[in-house]
């Protein structure tokens, strides 16, 4: 795989992860358990969707360079825009990890999922601030500040649930046991991630995992929750193979562009 193609797949995945999780978080808008959390989830979703815009815009530009055949009738343009990539790709063309596409569940489940992702996302973005790719570096410099707040938010709520009532503890532990199998995929590199790690453009996922693991241990201890044992791990998202939940989510997210192609307002 050429470095350009790897960069395309990498930026596309970063965009997909942020977009899909952002969409899931936005489902709390108007349904939050308390007003402050309703607003918090909407804000976090906005950050993630903003990051997705940066990544998908870049992915379209990279793609136009390495795969001119993807462009209509061999013209020099137009390239695929952020909107084309978000609204006009099918389920199998999305390459996000499966963790982010799962339904939001109850608030404990939403918080556990966010925590497991944020604890991975922060060291990843921190590492990308030293990327040899200027564009990825610039996006990360911006994102790292936002993700710092995300991790702080999900950690605090995880402690509140874990170290709260019997009921909140039970629900948080159940969500953790259930979602654990989706964490393996975060750290299993695909070819694009390996090519970019060698080129100094993206970090080695093994290094990110060390920091993730330390954060997970520290917060779970404070939350009096038990770290599940590593067992069978789900995978496939990075190749476009998803759980049954992504399709319906995309159908809802894309319905306007699918029903009225090219509509603007």
């Amino acid at each position: 795989m050429s470095e350009q193609e790897a960069l395309f797949r990498y930026t596309l995945r970063m965009g997909d992860n942020s977009l899909v999780l952002g969409h899931r978080n936005s489902e709390w808008c108007g349904h939050g358990p308390v007003l402050e959390e309703d607003i918090a989830q909407a804000n976090i979703a906005l950050d993630l969707i903003g990051q997705a815009r940066n990544y998908l815009t870049y992915a379209g530009e990279v793609e136009a360079k390495f795969r001119p055949s993807a462009l209509p009738t061999g013209q020099a343009g137009p390239l695929r825009t952020e909107d084309d990539l978000a609204y006009l790709r099918g389920e199998r063309e999305y390459i996000n990890v499966q963790l982010v596409e799962l339904p939001k569940g109850d608030y404990a489940r939403t918080i556990v999922r966010s925590f497991l992702f944020d604890a991975f996302h922060l060291p990843l973005q921190q590492a990308l601030t030293t990327s040899k790719d200027e564009r990825l570096k610039g996006i990360a410099e911006k994102a790292v500040k936002e993700v710092t707040y995300h991790l702080r938010h999900s950690s605090e709520w995880l402690v509140r649930f874990g170290d709260g009532t019997e009921e909140s503890h039970r629900r948080a532990q159940e969500a953790l046991d259930d979602l654990w199998r989706y964490t393996g995929e975060l750290f299993t590199p695909d070819e694009a991630e390996e090519v970019l790690a060698k080129a100094g453009i993206a970090p080695k996922l093994a290094d990110v995992k060390q920091e993730w693991s330390a954060t997970v241990d520290r917060v779970l201890k404070e939350a009096t929750l038990k770290r599940p044992a590593d067992g069978w791990m789900a995978s496939g998202g990075k190749k476009g193979i998803h759980t049954e939940h992504l399709g319906p989510m995309l159908a809802e997210m894309q319905t306007l562009q699918r029903s009225y192609p090219g509509v603007e307002w």
């Binding site: 402050e36 959390e37 607003i39 918090a40 909407a42 804000n43 976090i44 906005l46 950050d47 993630l48 969707i49 903003g50 990051q51 815009r53 940066n54 200027e134 570096k137 610039g138 996006i139 410099e141 911006k142 994102a143 500040k145 936002e146 710092t148 707040y149 702080r152 938010h153």
Partner: protein, 172 residues
Amino acid sequence: MKASAPSEHSVGSVNAAEIERLLESVKDPEIPVISIRELGVLRGVKVENGAVEVTITPTYSGCPAMDFMRMEVERTLKQAGIGNFQVKQVLSPAWTTDWISDSGRKKLLDFGIAPPPHSADIRALKGGSPAIACPHCGSTETEMLSQFGSTACKALYRCKACKEPFDLFKCH
């Protein structure tokens, strides 16, 4: 909105300082007392051979006001008769609340928003015990209600002295 036709006379004679003064009228739509220059969103104005380049940077990746501020910059330039311009958006170096000018901080306070702590104090903020003064009564007996407030850049606080809630512009 109809932009006035570019005037040949003004284009050749503008300089960067004049354009910066002109753009002083472009405000943050969420905080209409503070200009994009005071906010630190306006990063620079260059004039070369009569071509104007305005550089702006977003406060947050997903700031929904960014497109609006860009449109306002374009509209303001067109109205002043400047036709040859480009508005460029950059991410790096990343915007920080330290770029909010002193006059901007004062205006935030007068508007009822506590200005952000300087980033040197960010550790204190993350530790959860910053001394944030209430913009209404000045008391530092305040508490955070939520890290996420009415917009992405604000946190929600409450003053224990005067009992009023208020927004804090988050340190970023």
